[in-house]
């Protein structure tokens, strides 16, 4: 029983990462009806941004050599800084590459997205070096005492906590702010939104910014737990997060989060109870099953294709 709960917690922590990345996929699909293949690499850039930011941040905030709460402001600064950098990156990519292709056939944009993804990965290899780097310890890691057989590391709690906070914040933005409402309007009917006076370009840029910021947060959180980062780390999580978004219903924000957690838990359970060999195959198997049986996803609604 204890092991089951242990795996569950591990799965939820993994699922948080997927959920954060999946949110970016789903939001961009909602406003643009387009899968941003390069999103997984924004996650990677987020991790590297945190890597390069950390020494800078430590010139201002105290370093985490001593345990305890002293380290938190520094860690938060790294997280926010990385999110800001990737928000700008996301907006830049949209402006440079996707915006000129707004009216082109879908295939063209898809191929371009693959091109951007490959470009990010390979320039990452060029500038950061292909060998894995060790992410600095921005938070002290310890197991929480007093839980008996359960091993829960502080870092896992941090991942879950930060993810929860970000999800709440996102929900607030999407539901209660003007620009969030504009995003939702755009995802329902782009033409009507424009007729209502919504500046599509601004909203789209904002969507990319938020999605990329969330991916960056995922990158930093992942790097805190598994300190080895390399330029190709975004490929597999990117694909799995895409599957998570599809699982939850692409275009549906709570669905993406739900999908992320499901995939995370599923992957952890299969690796733990069946075999580690199938770790990466799970996501693909889920994708094929969901597309065969319920393509609109768990929380999605069936979109009638208007001829």
């Amino acid at each position: 029983m204890a092991e089951f709960i242990q795996q569950l917690i591990n799965g939820l922590a993994l699922g948080s990462i997927y959920a954060l990345i999946a949110l970016g996929y789903t939001m961009v699909y909602g406003v643009l009806r387009f899968i941003n293949f390069a999103h997984g690499d924004v996650y990677m850039i987020g991790a590297f941004a945190g890597f390069y930011l950390a020494p800078w941040v430590w010139t201002i905030f105290p370093e985490p050599q001593e345990a305890g709460w002293q380290a938190v402001p520094g860690a938060v600064a790294v997280l926010l800084g990385s999110m800001a950098i990737c928000a700008l990156l996301g907006m830049a990519i949209e402006w440079l590459v996707y915006r000129p292709l707004r009216n082109r056939p879908r295939l063209t944009v898809l191929i371009t997205a693959i091109g951007v993804s490959l470009f990010l990965e390979n320039t990452g290899q060029l500038f950061f070096g292909a060998e894995p780097k060790f992410f600095p310890d921005i938070m002290p890691d310890r197991a929480i005492e007093g839980l008996g057989d359960l091993i829960v590391m502080i870092n896992q709690v941090v991942v879950l906590g930060v993810t929860f906070a970000l999800l709440v914040a996102l929900r607030f933005v999407v539901m209660k702010t003007k620009i969030g409402t504009a995003m939702r309007a755009l995802s329902f009917n782009p033409l009507a939104a424009q007729l209502m006076g919504i500046n599509t370009s601004v909203v789209i840029s904002f969507t990319f910014a938020i999605g990329s910021a969330l991916a960056a947060a995922a990158g930093v959180l992942q790097a805190i737990n598994y300190p080895s980062i390399d330029p190709l780390m975004g490929i597999l999580p990117g694909i799995k997060a895409f599957v998570a978004a599809v699982l939850g219903g692409i275009g549906n924000i709570p669905g993406a989060a739900l999908g992320g957690f499901i995939i995370g838990v599923l992957e952890t359970f299969v690796v733990g109870y069946i075999s580690p060999m199938y770790r990466d195959a799970i996501a693909f198997a889920v994708l094929i099953l969901i597309l065969l049986f319920k393509p609109s996803g768990l929380l999605g609604k069936v979109e009638r294709e208007k001829v």
């Binding site: 387009f34 292709l101 091109g115 490959l118 470009f119 990965e121 290899q125 060029l126 694909i239």
Partner: protein, 331 residues
């Protein structure tokens, strides 16, 4: 000119005969021969994928998986059945050629079967989803091969003989081009194009879109398998990592660069993109250039990705499309 595929076939046959005579006599440098054989393989891969993606509009990111199936099956036939064939039929060049052709056929048919298996569930999907699912299938194929110890698994698989030469490679390439061009210029071709342009209208006209998609997929997969068989029989060593997503992307770049639905363009692009990495390798050796330029030259994926992006932004019909009708279709 009329019936250019047939003329091309004959021209190839003649050229191949002359060329292979030269190659047998050792008149051609091994390195260049390797590149020339690779060009042939890439032509087959590109033309096959062009049928699926260019003419039929099904974006497939898993083509390397079909190549892997063909390569491994062909290698397995050569390695495991070679002794039996020698035992039953004796030694001799007829026997080796016969075994080689058998290996290729089995590779191609195996890949075609994989095409049916991949195609069946995927073909009701469109655009982005189809791309991801084909990517997934490509990876699944690769992972399955990686876990099969009998054909080497993660250590790779070797073949002791190299029957692939200029003649076989370019004969297969010519056959592939011939078949694809014939298909495209027939009622099947009309069907493919309709599926690419507007599926709903096609169904309304009574065209069975699934049938045409599956045919395109299977033919493309078959030739990818043949290409794989050719490949393994001159490289002598294959490894699952050589058939991953990036390899699929290589083939996709060939099709995009050539112009989707533009077979001569894709052939030209295949030639260009086979020679390009070698040229880049040469450039990377020039010490005159600054270090970062040399690094970029070495990492051809940076250039490929920039090429993809720039091409899609400025010339989505591909570099080699001069036909206005094709250009209008793709923009």
């Amino acid at each position: 000119m009329k019936n250019w595929p047939k003329s091309l076939l004959l021209a190839f046959a003649l050229l191949a005969f002359l060329f292979s005579l030269m190659a047998e006599r050792g008149l051609i440098n091994d390195y260049y021969l390797d590149i020339i054989l690779m060009i042939g393989v890439n032509i087959i891969l590109g033309v096959g994928l062009n049928l699926v993606t260019g003419y039929t509009g099904q974006f497939s990111l898993g083509h390397a998986g079909f190549m892997a199936v063909g390569a491994y099956l062909a290698a397995a036939v050569t390695v495991f059945l070679g002794d039996d064939v020698t035992r039953i039929f004796g030694e001799g060049s007829v026997q080796t050629t016969g075994l080689y052709l058998l290996a290729m056929m089995i590779g191609g048919l195996g890949a075609a079967l994989a095409g049916v298996i991949v195609g069946a569930p995927s073909l009701r999907l469109k655009g982005d989803y189809l791309a991801i699912v084909t990517l997934g299938f490509g990876e699944i194929i690769r992972v399955i091969i990686q876990n099969m110890e009998i054909i080497g698994g993660p250590r790779g698989f070797s073949v002791p003989v190299t029957p692939t030469n200029f003649f076989w490679t370019y004969l297969m390439a010519a056959i592939c081009i011939y078949v694809v061009v014939l298909l495209v210029n027939s009622t099947y071709g009309r069907g493919f194009l309709m599926v690419a342009d507007d599926e709903i209208a096609a169904e309304a006209m009574g065209i069975n879109t699934t049938k045409y998609k599956v045919i395109a997929f299977v033919v493309g997969a078959f030739f990818a398998g043949i290409a794989g068989g050719l490949y393994v029989h001159f490289k002598q060593y294959i490894h699952p990592e050589g058939f991953n997503f990036l390899r699929s992307v290589d083939i996709v770049v060939i099709v995009i660069l050539g112009g989707m639905g533009n077979t001569p363009g894709v052939i030209a692009a295949a030639v260009l993109l086979t020679i390009l990495p070698e040229g880049l390798r040469y450039v990377a050796g020039w010490e005159v250039l600054p270090n970062w330029v040399r690094h970029v030259a070495q990492n051809r994926m940076i250039l490929y990705s920039l090429l993809l992006i720039t091409l899609m932004l400025t010339r989505p019909q591909g570099l080699f499309t001069f036909n206005r009708r094709l250009r209008q279709r793709l923009t």
